[in-house]
Point group: D2
Chain length 348, copies 4
């Protein structure tokens, strides 16, 4: 790839936007050519508009880019959107209509019939859906809710090998998932908040589309009852999830672990730049995975799994962990874009 594809970031000053900037600062295929944010930041340099929260320093080239409004004439081919759902729906549609390829983190278009809800290790074939879109050169691709991604990654090898019948999941979600300023410190120090608005509904429904079958240009939802409880805990990054599953076919413990450890998929075969070598890492130590220790595995793109054991109600219990703003947001969207580039589905 001689020339990099010019990309823009919508909502560039927000918490997901900052992750996009960080992950794209040194990307082999993409080059940031435009940063857009709300009216308030318009015209400022990025470094003056942003409250930079990433652990690595802001590259000086990007620091000096001028923030533009979120209007579709941004000079770029691909747009990564970290916009909030209250504005994302309409703006993303405008960008697609203007011929941009939009990779969205928001919920607005996830259930559109012709929009892929994409996790490249799980349903790479769903990307074909964009052929059904009528944006005249533009397109919209979404990634799921940050809690859904880890879950669906851990479920996929089980689904393939043994079939899924029922899923129970309780999340302990990181603060960064609520954006910035997000959760007040007075609400979470020495505390747990056992509620995240709208989250349980997403975790219960999105896996059914992602694990669904693409046939005749549309997705057939998987029949899969999921029950979710979602909690906020005092962790910076990394969503931990306690999961119980009932499988369609009997499997012994080693077979389940083998399914995870042997799991590899399209992004690994295509050697996409953001694809982790191991999409899933299984821990045999009882006390792992833990968010502080393992969220950055595979540069934040590996999903960590551990504590497989029998469930007295369903078949198995286990714990999973995934990085919510990398695998669960910006990193996931970039992997989606890499898949699209590699598949040459659209001219760039």
């Amino acid at each position: 790839m001689v020339k990099k594809v010019p990309v823009g970031i919508l909502g560039a000053t927000g918490s997901v936007g900052q992750r996009f900037v960080q992950l794209l600062s040194d990307h082999p295929w993409f080059e940031i050519t435009a940063l857009a944010a709300s009216e308030r930041s318009k015209g400022k340099s990025y470094k003056d508009a942003v409250q930079w929260l990433m652990p690595t320093p802001l590259s000086s080239k990007i620091a000096n880019l001028t923030i533009q409004p979120c209007e579709p004439d941004l000079s770029c081919r691909i747009v990564f959107s970290g916009l909030d759902s209250d504005v994302a729906g309409e703006i993303e549609t405008q960008f697609a209509r203007a011929g941009k390829i939009v990779f969205s983190n928001a919920k607005n278009h996830r259930w559109d019939k012709d929009v892929p809800l994409l996790v490249p290790e799980v349903n790479a074939d769903h990307l074909q859906l964009i052929k059904q879109q009528n944006f005249g050169g533009g397109a919209i691709v979404t990634n799921p809710n940050c809690s859904t991604v880890g879950l669906v990654m851990a479920l996929k090898p089980l689904h393939d090998a043994f079939g899924l019948h029922e899923v129970f999941v309780v999340t302990m979600q990181a603060l960064s998932g609520a954006g910035y300023p997000g959760v007040p410190s007075l609400d979470i120090l020495d505390n747990v908040i056992p509620y995240i608005g709208g989250e349980e509904e997403k975790v219960q429904s999105e896996p059914r589309k992602i694990l669904g079958k693409l046939a005749n240009g549309s997705i057939e939802l998987l029949e899969l009852p999921i029950s979710a409880h979602c909690n906020r805990v005092a962790v910076f990054d990394g969503h931990t999830e306690c999961v119980s599953v009932r499988l369609s076919r009997k499997a012994d413990e080693q077979a389940v672990i083998d399914a995870w450890q042997g799991f590899t998929a399209e992004p690994q075969r295509l050697q996409l730049p953001s694809a982790p070598e191991n999409p899933i890492r299984y821990f045999s130590e009882d006390r792992y995975p833990q968010p502080r220790l393992h969220r950055d595995s595979g540069k934040g793109m590996t999903v960590s799994v551990g504590r497989l054991r029998k469930c007295p109600l369903l078949d198995y219990k286990f714990v999973l962990l995934s990085h919510n703003t990398i695998r669960g947001a910006a990193g996931g969207a970039i992997l989606n874009a890499e898949l699209l580039v590699k598949q040459e589905l659209v001219p760039l």
Copy 2:
């Protein structure tokens, strides 16, 4: 009650021991006459031996008591034991054999056939079991694991009204449950530990004895499959639990809430000093209960419940919260002792 019953505390310097001291410092029926701890503390004044962690100041009278060894000639009638399970079993038996009434927090005697596993709001009648004991005037009464108590309190009204069929529970447990020094700060700041040794087994089994039937001098265990995931989170006090239940009989949401809100039991009827006016408090706000805000409800003896909603797998989901070192340990043991005193089962 003219004269207070003299009581001793075993393991008085530990985290549960300190709660005993705090809660008994001004008790209407009991008076602390003896404090015992390990050899290391023997002969020291309590204030010199303890690293006091309670939020209220240590009363000066108790501060100057001399620590004695954990030997059965302590001058007291009732013994509250905050000993660890690695030593509790043998020592508590010795005290019972020496004629003391022992109230234990440890797991060692919980499954003895003739030892009640007691939560006064749930199975006050089980206290009769001590008549089966052969300690010649002494007795042993246990209270359950700190995560079991909150669960079984919330389940009891549902069990009575609708019958219980299956229970799924994920805990987010406070640091104080691990004692002192307990969890290193480097392990829990910005982190979750998805494992607590031996905890899941207790939560899965103890409710079956507590909710079991006493008949012909022995307990018939309740048939009730429970699946538990136990986690440690950065909360000082208060265990939060996400629960899903399948009921034996259909119930609409209001009926479930009514069962909780109308719940009152033997400790309330007997007006035991540590009994909360409301054993269960139901919150209608989505974001409640929360450990920092509600753990001290009813002086730490009320179990808080909230977020009742349909479960896609079982029947209902909800969140509960209980104070792990008050209701779940020292306060629970004191309530047990109050019940025994009021029932006049033994001479005091």
Copy 3:
């Protein structure tokens, strides 16, 4: 005092406002008759307008009071103001002009020549300043910045006994000092913020007025250079301060400790309801005071001091701790009001 004085609270839903509500719910002299807040809350019941953060439950009587706008016709004689400084100045003046006695936490009027900056243990006589005010029956009394109060309380006995020459102070301030929502959790988890806007200026100047002399109806500022560094740390309540002082006259360590331990002042002599028995508590243990353990000493009104030792630069070093929203805000303002009532300076 047969009949309670009717009091109103301005900014009742905020973090200081909630403390006022908590502390006044069961006050022997005052009765809450009016709650006022911003337009947004107007007309709602208090319980619907507030995000209650206090550890004790909201009394049902107050929960059902209707929020009124911050206009001076509130039916009450005394007004406690928890308003932010961006609006407090003008509104408090309006209330005073309408004949109310206003007790303010905001900085706006602290430096008005005829307004006392009051800490009853330190400068009770300054309350006479209100005689200089021309509000036609109304008055304004202020309490200092939350970091100033603890400092000036610990300095007062040293000032009286040995004279003060220079003060160095570094604060580690609690999150509740920033109000609600205040500090975002992403900014403070696993972090320190070494800056609090405007704080150092207040800590460096306010003690000079508080410790100043009232003569001929005005305050002569104390000549006292103070250097302050102010930091925000992940503590819920309680400001910790590291202090070094140079004294005017030599003093040995025991004399300094004696000065603190023997300290008692006007509020203690008058037995004001909110006055702690010991305004200052000195700890001999190296590791004390600590915010979690000692902030609630004397119901949050006692200032804790410890670690007195020689300073290689000035004379002595020590650590102090005070509760920032009780002693440092609402509790301090209530003590001011109690002093005024007891002194019968105005008709009530």
Copy 4:
């Protein structure tokens, strides 16, 4: 450098030992050939003996090394010691006598007349002191206390340019400085501990040796009064320090900032592998530096400085931050070793 120097790590399973392992796993000059720890770990593979706390995965080659006892026949030329001071003194001497070059983090040998207390950016010439040592081929080099390093780095350019007269410092120190298990979580959640045993004495004395002059084979201590208050706060890594200084010569603010920003020293000139490009980074934003955001600057070897402003007592106030287990311990010791290698002071 064709062949890497074989190095061993003493106390390899501890918190500083783990940092050594992490930082040396991929070092251009050094190769880990031996890991030693206490008797308890002897004979185990490193991965089985260690509770790995570092954020990057343990390399598999090192994971499988067998732990040896801390005896001087370890097969290596250089030894990095992360031993605690209760055992470090004697063991390090034994290693030096056996001909090893020992780089120690412990306090035991810091004040030996012939042992350099080394910070390569500050006193690289002091390394010559080892010529005075009589270990027959072996040598001991120490690095200072973790709080001293950041302070002395920030002071050095001021000392060179303007002279130092007096220093006041208050530290807010990270949990990792106390080792593992170290600080119990119950002691630090929602809390500050205003005491670290022995720490203030080190911070007050060590800079005097480091900034002292080497003349005629011995160090002349700098005359410099320093007053330190040391606190523990709930931060994982990174010590924050509030500093006030009196300078010998007048300097305007820009001159001070220029002294820091222009600062470069021996490690930079020699291009030592662990030397940061900028030893000191100055922030102009009021709210910086902060531990979570800036501790990893320069791979943890850059000291961050900010908030320069006038001090009402001395001349200037500022805030500094340095990574306590990298710059302040393992990374500092490795930089010391790199300096020794480059200076070819001993045969390797």
